[in-house]
Amino acid sequence: MRENPWRPVVVTSQFRIVAECLLFTLLGVVAGGRAGGDYSFVGAVFLASTYYTVSMISDVPMRDRMEGTYPQLSRAGRPPYLTFVVRSLPVVGAGAVAAVVAGVVVGAVTGRLDILVAMAPGVPLLVAACVSGGAVGLFVIAPAIGTRYDALTYNTMTALIVVFSGALIPTGRHGVLDALGGVLPLHHAIAGSRAAMDGQPWGAYLLAEMAVAAGWALVAAFTYHAMDRRGRTTGRGAFSS
């Protein structure tokens, strides 16, 4: 929090997040009228968390590299990845808060607060989506740390999530979209949220989202471990001491 003073963060980041949530909701109206807007609003609220969980979370591992503190981290008693995970928790929390704030503002502006209230019992789904987003966010930045491709990695992942998660493009129409979306963050959580609003059970969706989070967390753990070993062994790369 000290590194990110709240005033510019609130004014700029949250403003952009709310504006995007509104844009996505209105694009749903353009595509499918009121019903289309309702559909997109649910997805847009979840997508609002990705600014933090997929994009901003990249600062967590990159900071150690930039400030030269990674060697100490590497020689510590625990894997560096665990430190990154713990440091990422406030960012994941910020993603959840950002999504709620965006939902309240856009819901009020577009007359969809009733939808937000209907989504409320499914808050664990939002939390799971933020955790899975954070896991994938930590993974995608790992190979790009120390290169010029850092922004490209999380932008690419965000674009994939926007298109394939079912947030804005209805699922069940394209097999390829659904198959890819099934392994990406937010897909199951959003589907669960919509099921919850229809009065259907959403426990299976929550478990699926948590499985996605665990899968990406494992992949990230392996990636950071491999990069740390490479740095120790060869003395090269972003994670060298």
Binding site: P8, F15, A19, V29, V30, N155, I169
Partner: protein, 273 residues
């Protein structure tokens, strides 16, 4: 080079000051070469347009055809082009400062404003080409066939888009380079312009007061002009509107940059540039 004859056949060589057009063209070419290998060109020029094309077209219940395809494609082009220009304009000026070349440009023989104008123009032109290529590919995949009855007007519209994008990027870049939150502020600006610009979100979806605000954004005029190239009549009034707003951006951007440099000279903070 040339110089006075010193009598023994030797000449004192005096460097010829490059003209402003030379400086603009050289800077533009250099920036294009830099941006061609920059990863963000792919993110802003390929990923973003394809993402917005997908979310604007695929969820629609009715298949788009004819003039509607042209309107949607021009809207996505302008919206994503704008985002790329804002990012690029801020990025160019910030990199100039970080690398120390802004200071050298300001104290060089050529006016730094022409150098920066060239860089921003080059980046803007490249942005449009990459966005158009990406959307052409995306249109093929999605089976979209735009209708263009006035191709000359469409090309003129694209040229106007580059000019307008250059002016806007220079203005935004000059505004944001003086703060350390420039990147964050540029993030905050890009999405509201997508909301208000009348590009991917038609102006009819905005409340009336917001529509007036949209008309201060050159994109809304360019969108009307480009969309009119589909079936005609060509909306020359929209091109006029784009010209007026672009001129305002250009004048403000030029004055702002001048003011910034003059202030730095007075406060002896030029070495911080």
């Amino acid at each position: 080079m040339s110089g006075p004859d010193l009598g023994d056949g030797a000449q004192r060589l005096v460097p010829r000051r490059p003209s402003a057009p030379d400086a603009v063209v050289a800077s533009a070419a250099m920036q294009v070469r830099q941006n061609l290998v920059h990863p963000m060109t792919f993110a802003a020029g390929v990923l973003n347009p394809l993402m917005f094309l997908a979310i604007v077209v695929v969820p629609r219940e009715e298949r788009l055809a004819g003039a509607d395809v042209t309107a949607v494609l021009s809207g996505v082009t302008l919206a994503t082009f704008w985002a790329a220009c804002v990012w690029g304009g801020v990025g160019i000026l910030r990199r100039e400062r970080w690398s120390g070349t802004f200071y050298r440009s300001v104290t060089a023989v050529q006016d730094a404003r022409w150098v920066l104008l060239g860089k921003v123009a080059g980046a803007t032109a490249l942005n449009l080409v990459v966005v158009l290529a990406s959307l052409a590919a995306g249109s093929l995949v999605l089976g979209l066939r735009p209708e263009v009855e006035h191709p000359a007007a469409l090309l003129l519209g694209f040229a106007a888009t580059v000019v307008s994008g250059t002016a806007a990027a220079q203005l935004v870049g000059s505004l944001l380079v003086v703060t350390r939150y420039g990147v964050a502020l540029s993030n905050a600006i890009s999405t509201p312009v997508m909301l208000l610009g009348g590009t991917i979100l038609p102006l009819t979806f905005l409340v009336p007061p917001a529509r007036w605000l949209s008309r201060t954004i050159s994109l809304s005029w360019l969108q009307d002009f480009l969309a009119s190239a589909a079936t005609g009549p060509v909306a020359w009034w929209a091109l006029g509107g784009a010209a007026v707003t672009t001129t305002v951006y250009a004048v403000l951007g030029w004055r702002l940059l001048t003011t910034m440099v003059d202030r730095a000279r007075r406060e002896a903070t030029l070495d911080l540039f």
